[in-house]
């Protein structure tokens, strides 16, 4: 059986052929994927944004998810070409023009993982961690979690994920899943300024979500993707333009009741999900933070992190 290699070490023709045949196997954190695409934009995006991720070009095992990037119809292969991500089950996916294939791939993969994963409690959240524990940033109010996660990476935190807070039901630990960080609009420039342009993919402009670029996970994030951590700090960021920075501690029961609706699968999981979530909340301190800019949010989160011993 073929061994896993760093995706960046696979020559382009081999990678493209494997994708065309639908037998590229990618392994990252808790999920493996089978990928299929006859599309140079997807191949190039993988080479850039997934450079350090382990893959094999022949399927060595079955996978958690399978995603195919294809034309929405026979007609769209030729005229005003479009692509759509097919996760193998029926979803209301929006066809996108071919130049946005990378976005289609990322959205399709997120959807496949979010809808199919039941082995872990999955939250819409960004998570980073150091050797002492993890910071869980809930996306509840859409308050710039990706920017905050990117900034914390520069401060020495490992990237777990900017899209999925994954909780292991057997031990209530958070599980890394270091996919590329998705940056939108103004945050692209902000993150480029503090991480350097090398770490960002080219910008996809005029997408349905505005401008988008991806910040690649670092080799160290990927190598340590099997190291799970307990959550020490849970934050619910609220961005209000021009607001003065404030942090308000939340009662544990309130934090828990706020986290439930941000989960994509909690309602499916039964008692195991409840036990893991109560343990996670019991072992952490939870805050709602309000802020008006990235510097303020960083300052608050660093103070809170110091307060819980991170």
């Amino acid at each position: 059986m073929e061994h896993f290699r760093r995706l960046g070490d696979v020559p382009y023709p081999e990678l493209a052929q494997s994708l065309k045949d639908g037998c590229l196997e990618m392994s990252l954190g808790p999920f493996s994927k089978r990928l299929k695409a006859n599309n140079s934009q997807v191949t190039e995006f993988l080479q850039d944004a997934y450079r350090d991720v382990p893959v094999r070009t022949k399927l060595g095992d079955i996978t958690d998810v399978a995603v195919t990037i294809k034309s929405p119809s026979w007609f769209r292969q030729y005229v005003r070409r479009q692509v759509v991500a097919d996760p193998g089950f029926i979803v209301p996916a929006v066809p996108l023009p071919v130049r946005l294939s990378a976005l289609s791939f990322e959205m399709g993969l997120n959807l496949a993982v979010a809808l199919k994963c039941c082995r872990l409690v999955s939250f819409h959240a960004a998570v980073v961690g150091n050797e002492k524990g993890a910071i869980f940033i809930s996306a509840h109010s859409g308050g710039g979690k990706s920017t905050l996660a990117s900034a914390l990476m520069v401060e020495g935190y490992r990237l777990f994920s900017d899209e999925f807070g994954l909780l292991d039901m057997s031990n209530s630990l958070l599980v890394p899943y270091p996919r590329p960080v998705s940056l939108k609009g103004d945050s692209i420039n902000i993150v480029r300024d503090f991480t350097g342009a090398d770490w960002l993919t080219p910008v996809l402009s005029d997408t349905p979500k505005g401008d988008i670029a991806y910040r690649r996970a670092r080799p160290s994030d990927i190598e340590e993707a099997d190291k799970k951590l307990s959550s020490k700090l849970i934050v619910f960021p609220v961005f209000t333009k021009g607001a003065r920075p404030v942090a308000k501690e939340l009662a544990k029961s309130e934090a828990l009741m706020r986290l439930i609706p941000s989960s994509t699968n909690y309602h499916l999981l039964g008692q195991g999900g409840f036990e893991a979530l109560t343990a996670m909340v019991a072992g952490a301190r939870s805050y709602e933070i309000q802020y008006g800019n990235t510097d303020d949010s960083m300052k608050i989160v660093k103070d809170l992190a110091a307060g819980v011993g991170l």
Binding site: L256, L268, L269
Partner: protein
């Protein structure tokens, strides 16, 4: 909206064995293993479930037992409040009329 028909004669019952309860601060976080719902219950709701788990009661007969459980007088916790709580718990599927209990 009620979960179904009821009257003042209805005997109510609850099955506490299917609930997993974690007390955090003053809230009873209650997981219903049957419905998969998580409820944040106050002490009155928790007491009603406890009382109805150990015997079938009407609205009227439940009241003194609930008051005893929470250690309150009727002046602090009127009967109407207990009835409302039973109906809310009925709505959530946490208490039900006993079979043939009219």
């Amino acid at each position: 909206m009620a979960a179904g028909p009821y009257s003042d004669e209805t005997l109510w019952t609850a099955d506490i064995t299917r609930l997993v309860i974690r007390v955090m601060e003053d809230v009873n976080l209650t997981f219903d293993t049957l419905s998969g719902d998580t409820h944040a219950l106050n002490f009155l709701s928790a007491a009603v479930i406890q009382v109805l788990s150990s015997g079938k009661e009407t609205f009227a007969s439940a009241a003194p037992r609930v008051l005893e459980t929470i250690g309150m007088e009727e002046s602090d916790c009127p009967k109407g409040l207990i009835k409302d709580t039973i109906l809310q718990l009925d709505e959530a599927g946490l208490v039900i009329p006993a079979r043939g209990g009219e």
